[in-house]
């Protein structure tokens, strides 16, 4: 008997996820064993564990997957990836789902996209990340009420010379921007 492992027999969304993820073809080998969810430090907070998400992807439940909190619970610790008996790049699939969810407007209940955007905005301005700018801009626009809780910590960091109030800038920031713009223009996922 021939086992069905060909993506041609899978749902459209399944093939899309594979195309979005380098090494994503491995997903056809998922055994539904649940090692991923069991290994995850935030598994208990997920609406669906990665195992369940993979079954839902297979069942073409696109909107439910992309609006789930699963990928937003992922902190890229790679325990699932290391432990998966089928070598599925689970953390990379979580990144692919984050990208799709942001691109299609599903990521509404998390501040993660705002943090990511603020972070990379500074990288594009200066070539380096800028912790003070990141913290102040991100909290001001996304969590203004939490700002006061950060003041004692900020002062401790400042008094120990661990918080610079001005960013460092690379010399060839134009070169970096040209590379970034070109990458955006090429677009797509490999």
């Amino acid at each position: 008997m021939v086992t069905d492992t060909h993506s041609g027999h899978r749902s459209d969304f399944f093939r899309e996820v594979i195309a979005d993820t380098p090494g994503g073809e491995q997903l056809v080998h998922c055994l539904q064993c649940g090692s991923c969810g069991g290994s995850c430090p935030n598994g208990a907070d997920m609406q669906y564990t990665p195992r369940a998400i993979f079954a839902m992807i297979n069942a073409n439940r696109r909107a439910e997957v992309l609006s789930a909190n699963t990928m937003w619970c992922c902190v890229s610790c790679y325990f699932c990836t290391t432990r998966c008996p089928q070598q599925i790049p689970i953390t990379e699939i979580m990144y692919a789902l984050k990208r799709r969810a942001i691109a299609e407007g599903y990521a509404k209940d998390t501040d993660a996209p705002a943090l990511a955007k603020t972070f990379t905005g500074f990288v594009e301005d200066y070539g380096r990340s800028f912790e003070f700018g990141l913290a102040s801009r991100y909290y001001f626009f996304n969590k203004p009420l939490s700002m006061f809780k950060l003041v004692p910590m900020g002062l401790s960091m400042l008094s120990r010379g661990r918080m610079h109030l001005r960013p460092n800038r690379i010399r060839q920031v134009d070169q970096l921007r040209a590379i970034i713009n070109k990458a955006r223009e090429i677009g797509g996922t490999p």
């Binding site: 060839q172 040209a178 490999p190």
Partner: protein, 298 residues
Amino acid sequence: MKYAYYPGCSLESGSAAYDVSVRAVSAALGIELEELDDWNCCGATEYFTQHELVANSVIARNLALCRKDQQQLVAPCAACYLNLKKTDHLMAEHPEMRRRVNEALAAGGLHYDPGRVRVRHLLDLIYTDIGEAALRAKAVRSLKGLRVAPYYGCQVVRPLNGFDNPEYPMKMDEMFTWLGAEVVDYPVKAHCCGGHMTQITEDAAFELIRRLLDSAVEYEADLILCMCPMCQLNLDAYQARVSSHFNKNFQMPIIFFTQLLGVALGLDFEQVGIGKEIVAAGPIIQARLAAQTAGATA
């Protein structure tokens, strides 16, 4: 021994103690670090969340900037280390990715062939290239009596590490055993610190931080040794808030492994940035070292 050095953004500000101690320890061990000229931020996890090709192209610029004679690039930060390694790996494994990244790099007049640069973590470099005999020979101060909890975190040991066990890493444990410290074998040494969750969903991150601190306390560690700026920041700077959140009274000093290694090599606290941490590590190290002398004279 000569290596190109990629400090990463955190080492320029929040984790300056890591940078200072990396440079001081390297000089003491005869490791010659040459900072990569005009390196840019690796993007941490934040570009991968938005755009796969931009993420890899931003990282690849750094690999492409390595001169022909810079064949090994050392990154002490876990996120930088993983990203540099990951892009090199993805470009090697996926020809289409290699083509696209190079098309993007070409817009900046750059090109990178995967495999040209070997990305190393400083722990691997000291453990492997310097090794036990040289380290023992150069250590002038024994760390005897000091109970240390080596904390590896995630992104150095998983998923692309080739030098240590991804579940139960041992290289830092071994290194500090050579230096005379009592190494605490606690079960969470490669668990997650919460990463950027401290800035997104505090409750989730605080629980992960609590598990680490509780375990180190339970195993009677004097301090935790980190090898990642994010881990150090979460465990140190958020410690007071985690304490009040769980009604605990944590007083666990969190420093970088290079800082304590520097102490063993005879460097002053100031030379290795001890004192920049929020929960002070100086007093307990001082006390344990002083107890050795008292023990010797008694």
